[in-house]
């Protein structure tokens, strides 16, 4: 009887260790299988040509990813530029100004924003943002725009990454020792001066890490962006042109293109590219954030 308990414990330990190792290996498995799937196209074409050519004619064997890469960067940067000020200001407000009641009230708001599915954001984008751009904003700058544009993608994406930014930044601000802000306040600084000179300066690495994390989320966002950004494989010249980010490219074409091996491989190359960038960005920012958390636990 006594032995059985020990055996159970030992078996459980081995199985659990197996799961843990599996989890670590899983990341490598995804990366490697995408890489091998993408290998044929990388052999066939020069990597440099794939990344810098802007000619996308799959049926003639031209696979230039530049329009998609530029579109992804363009949309994501707009999203960050819009989302960052709102998120920083709101997080500071929630951290240093708001009463407990307001903070309580705001938690579910952020939760809900991060819980709303991409497809719903897409529906909202087509109903609210696209007409707004084509009827109100675009006519002031260009002659005609359908509304399905870089800007629409950027705005929708901005709303989607705001909850992520806020939840990380609130954590980062919270990790600043109270002693520091108290010292600043007791020297006669106003709250805003304390925020500016102590909190923002001290949490600068954290804000950067949060931004990088949000950027990598933005790179990979598929459905919502696909629904509002037009999907034309040309390099967008302005805010009011359609664009075609990498995830949308995969979503629109993958699954049907198994008949053309080089096309399939090209789409896998897109997935691999996305994977590598996201893993690097995520790894770097998570590492920084863990470092910050550790410092907080020590103090």
């Amino acid at each position: 009887m006594r032995k059985l308990r020990i055996v159970k414990d030992k078996t459980a330990r081995v199985i659990m260790l197996g799961f843990a190792i599996f989890t670590i290996l899983f990341l490598a498995v995804i990366g490697l299988s995408l890489f091998f799937k993408a290998l044929p196209i990388m052999r066939e074409k020069n990597l440099w040509v794939l990344l810098t050519s802007s000619s996308w004619r799959p049926f003639r064997g031209d696979f230039g990813f530049l329009p998609f890469i530029v579109s992804t960067l363009y949309v994501s940067l707009i999203a960050i530029i819009i989302a960052l000020p709102f998120s920083v200001l709101t997080s500071i407000y929630l951290n240093s100004y708001a009463s407990k009641r307001i903070r309580r009230f705001f938690e579910p708001v952020v939760d809900l924003l991060s819980g709303i599915p991409p497809v719903i954001y897409g529906v909202w984008g087509t109903l609210a943002i696209v007409p707004l751009i084509s009827n109100k904003i675009a006519p002031r700058f260009v002659e005609f725009s359908t509304g399905y544009t870089v800007l629409a993608g950027g705005i929708v994406l901005a709303v989607m990454i705001i909850p992520l930014l806020i939840s990380i930044m609130v954590e980062v601000f919270r990790s600043i020792p109270v002693v520091m802000t108290d010292a600043s306040l007791s020297l006669g600084a106003t709250k805003w001066q304390t925020v500016k000179k102590v909190i923002l300066r001290k949490s600068f690495p954290g804000i950067i890490a949060a931004t990088v994390l949000a950027l990598s989320r933005a790179f990979g966002e598929t459905m919502a962006v696909l629904m509002v950004c037009g999907n034309i494989p040309l390099i967008p010249k302005s805010f009011f042109d359609a664009c075609y980010p990498l995830p949308a490219l995969i979503a629109n074409n993958y699954g049907e293109m198994l008949s053309m091996p080089s096309y399939e491989s090209a789409l896998m190359f897109a997935a691999f590219l996305l994977f590598i960038i996201v893993v690097l960005f995520n790894g770097a920012s998570r590492f920084t954030l863990n470092q910050i958390e550790k410092r907080y636990q020590l103090s």
Binding site: A20, G115, M227, G283
Partner: protein
Amino acid sequence: MKQLEEKIFRIIMIGAALIILGVLIYIVGTIFFKGLPSLTWDMITKVPGGGFYLGKEGGVLNAIVGSVYIIFGALTISLVISVPLVMYINFYLPGTSMFSNIVRFCLDILYGVPSIVYGAFGFALMVYLGIRASLMGGIIVVAMLIMPIMMRSFDEVARLLSRDLPDALLSLGATRYEMVKVILKQLMPGLITAVLLAIGRGIGDAATVLFTAGYTDNIPTSLSQPAASLPLSIFFQLGSPVEEVQNRAYASAIILTMIILILSFSARYFSSKFLKTRI
């Protein structure tokens, strides 16, 4: 001067927070405003009829049931893996274990991998294994997507647990396996929160099921049949040129939004319960 600056920035900050709140209300409001007129009882109790995609009778029951099947399958797989894993890195290994931190780091990265990449990887895997777009495929890929979410949020809760309970159990002569069984009871509200969060993410994601689960107007009766899902049903209906069908897409969006709202609030309820009963 500095008082003026203080006041100005306070107003800007409140403004930013209010705008974010406003956007949330705007999103939910837009969906409800557009969808409510088309939301009928038929929408949630009938599968698409013959002329559904031309604006005739039928509903999206196929998509609702498909989504539920997919998410419950995925949930079962990920629970079986997540719970032991989180218990292992928190209570089997010592608190300062390097290995636990490596696992956590990998989970963080897996959490950040875009759903479209899981979709593409899952589809490649299915081709390799010879599985066609089916309920099975959808379940596997959604499980991949929600597993890191569940593990990460359950891990957060497990880390908050005071070390006294495990220490007391061990000192009474329990094996670690017996200890974990007791701890799990204590952590139950936290696990429920993690599960609800994972359901919310899994049920709303379209990019994972796009290639892997397929789409059908019928309710699947076996794992090898294709299954419809709610987000894809919204997406496809929205792409239709017929106005009635588009309106139904908005109505379907209400259904999905309602599911998410309910999940989100229940998750919040259970996590506050955990914090209250924490010892």
